[in-house]
């Protein structure tokens, strides 16, 4: 009884103190704004129209509109399961055979950078994690201005990532609304004025959100002017293989810049090209002047990683490494990536064909010229709103659609809907 009383007294005294002070620590915390893209999916889910289409989703869908698990992934999983591996912590920098294969995929296995060991690649939490580590690294070590120049427009999450790391955001012209194409002149003009040693972020291929990529000759000129301005190049490559269907073609710009003498930093994601979205597989690479510098950089990347998540998750990296390092699986993967890219290209062609058939007077060539998962339709906000309200076609307000959400079953409906709001 005595013990019980003592317990009661103690917890009562604490409880009464708490009653006297009943406000929350969080009274001043505002509701965070809804994520613009998630908001699209939420609204889509609530819609009861059987013909509804979700073109906001940034994940590949097959021709039945279903998520697609690559066969090479399933096969790799079976191989891994049979090995009965333990679950010991990975090193801070991740699975070595993954990091190595990741770098080789981007740079090409014969690249001089890899042969002289003058780069470091760490496994990261997909593309976002890679960009974040990169931003943190630059914030701490970049000797030049801490200004990151993004193309106008860029992926919505680039800005908050760099800003939170302490960098300033600036922009260079990129997308030309009047042509729905690349504003090459504007880009060169702006880039030529960027203060020396600033940081320029380039989408390696399949620009998000516009789908507009420079042509090789244009990349060459960009590389020249970037060199003249002595800028640090930060490549974001989230769609290697997924853009053209050819992994070497999609990495052409990255490799050209390196050949051209730029010591780039590079973020890679395997979310889309291996369909490993939820496994969070990515890499961050720093190309250095020599192997000794690469070792120092590696040691500092680890210092940045450790207080965020200690070491990365193994599952996706093992799958990716198994695929990249097993010849039959690698071949299968290349075929499947080619298949995904081809389906997207076909949907682009069918959409334009459908619009022409409907008698649309507009020029829809950009739908075919743009590349990768996304298409900047050129639709205005009012037209986008009509598409959603009248046709249950969901996309982001900027007129961006994910071609991955288009199937042979619904491309006709989409063509009808777009024609209806644009004629």
């Amino acid at each position: 009884h005595l013990c019980l009383n003592q317990t009661s007294v103690f917890s009562l005294s604490v409880y009464y103190t708490h009653l006297l002070w009943c406000s929350s620590w969080w009274g001043g915390v505002q509701m965070g704004p809804p994520d613009p893209i998630l908001g699209v999916t939420e609204a889509f889910k609530k819609d009861t129209n059987p013909k509804k289409m979700n073109l906001g989703v940034g994940a590949y869908r097959d021709d039945q509109g279903k998520p697609f698990v690559l066969s090479c992934v399933r096969k790799a999983e079976a191989i891994i399961a049979a090995k009965q591996l333990d679950k010991e912590y990975l090193p801070i920098g991740g699975l070595a055979e993954f990091s190595k294969a990741c770098a080789q995929l981007a740079l090409g296995p014969e690249n001089e950078v890899l042969k002289s060991s003058r780069s470091v690649t760490v496994q990261t939490i997909s593309g976002t994690g890679s960009l974040r580590i990169g931003a943190n690294f630059l914030a701490r070590f970049h000797p030049g201005p801490h200004d990151v120049y993004l193309p106008k427009p860029s992926w919505g999450n680039h800005t908050p990532i760099f800003r939170d790391a302490g960098m300033q955001l600036k922009a260079y012209r990129y997308y030309e609304p009047s042509t729905c194409g690349f504003d090459f002149k504007g880009a060169l003009d702006d880039i030529s004025k960027i203060p020396e040693q600033s940081i320029i972020l380039l989408h390696a291929c399949a620009h998000n959100p516009t789908g507009v990529d420079p042509r090789p000759e244009q990349w060459k000129e960009i590389a020249d002017i970037v060199k003249k301005r002595n800028l640090l190049v930060f490549f974001d490559m989230a769609y290697q293989g997924f853009a053209s269907g050819d992994i070497d073609r999609d990495a052409w710009a990255v490799r050209h810049f390196i050949e051209n003498g730029h010591n780039i930093v590079l973020s890679q994601s395997f979310a889309k090209n291996m369909g490993l979205y939820g496994e969070r597989v990515g890499g961050f690479t720093v190309v250095c002047k020599d192997a000794e510098e690469a070792k120092r950089v590696e040691s500092q990347l680890k210092i940045l990683i450790r207080p965020i998540y200690s070491n990365p998750p193994v599952n996706g990296a093992r799958i990716a490494a198994t695929i990249l390092n097993t010849p039959e699986l690698r071949s299968l993967w290349l075929e499947e990536v080619h298949g995904m890219a081809n389906r997207i290209i076909k949907m682009r062609e069918q959409l334009v064909a459908g619009l022409k058939k409907n008698g649309s007077s507009h020029n829809w060539q950009h739908v075919i010229d743009q590349i990768g998962m996304f298409c900047f339709t050129g639709l205005k906000p009012e037209q986008v709103e009509r598409l959603t309200k009248e046709f249950s076609v969901y996309m982001t307000k900027d007129g961006r659609i994910s071609m991955a959400g288009v199937t042979s079953g619904n491309v006709g409906y989409l063509a009808d809907a777009i024609h209806a709001v644009t004629k």
């Binding site: 708490h18 509701m31 698990v69 399961a81 939490i125 976002t128 120092r296 040691s299 998750p313």
Partner: protein, 431 residues
Amino acid sequence: LKKQKKNRSAFCLRGSQISITPHNSLSVPQAAPVAVFKLTQDFNNDQFPNKVNLGVGAYRTDEGQPWVLPVVKKVEKIIVHDDRLNHEYLPILGLPEFRSSASKIVLGDNSPAILENRVGAVQCLGGTGALKIGAEFLRRFYNGSNNTKTPIYVSAPTWENHNAVFSSAGFEDVRPYRYWDAEKRGLDLAGFLGDLESCPEHSVFVLHACAHNPTGTDPTQEQWKQIAEVMMRRKLFAFFDSAYQGFASGSLEKDAWAVRYFVSSGFEMFCAQSFSKNFGLYNERVGNLTVVARDADNLKRVLSQMEKVVRITWSNPPSQGARIVTITLTSPELFSEWQENVKTMANRVLLMRSQLKAKLQALGTPGTWDHITDQIGMFSFTGLNPKQVEYLVKEKHIYLMASGRINMCGLTTKNIDYVAESIHEAVTKVQ
């Protein structure tokens, strides 16, 4: 902590020495390796046949091998054969069933706070990730504006990464609270309570829920009550780090007692949970930041802001580990099996503790060795001094942290005699 402080200021000094050079010649100094991983590296490179690794904190079987829990193997087979599962993105805050079942594990199924809808969670990358998201949120929203000077108190000593998590989140003042009494080899309660009484109001205290790392010394229930009383009265923020629930005593409820007591006392608090040790899922990075708020409305706003933090850190968490934990926790059979697996681990550690103490006492090793069995969880603060530690590492090829911390899991029935004898030597030969 002194070492950490040194590293930090050395880093800052180097930072100010960086000169403007072309970007293709980075002024990046070589960073010191993380001590615990360097220890394992040295161990791996050692050719001595009877070497023993008492360093890094991962469970080992009596054969000295890593152990994938049988229930985990079972669940992984279920996952691999389930054709309905794909690799799509999880929501930003993680797998909903994972978050709720993980919070239930630490707070109890019938926690009043859960029933009152004021408990939420964020799936994170391990315990580290949960601490990180919590720290980033606090830096943005706790204690008014200009709050980076809010003191963050971590125990002296503590897990070496606590310091870095909070300082890298932007807190400028990470300080120790008295905890380990080296003289009596136990909890310095007076010192702990003294720091609680004298610290600035609204300070944040990082509390080890059970199986304190590295000392293995936990407050008793009575002591926790005293701690809670002061914290509530002085308006201090409780941030629990729960990395060993179940692993410490073998009982989930017992190991969660402190956390649950604080909740029932009315604290708004965070609890960073790790499933690395109690599920053996180290490399899958499974963690959960449990948030207990005053009410559902406050909770909603907090989670919405945590979502923003997650989005610019890793966007959304990895699915594999969360799936394994969720399937296990939500199936009565698998849940029981898991509890048995956890008991297996806890019991082996308890056995090694009692055997080590018995052997040291039998050898007549100077000093008292009760702390070996009084302490709980994976680690034991032996009380060996740095010279004695060096002796063990260099002369006996027994690898342990300079602090004298040993991982009990590194002990096996095959090496315990060698370790006991070596400790005896170290204590008698080296002062």
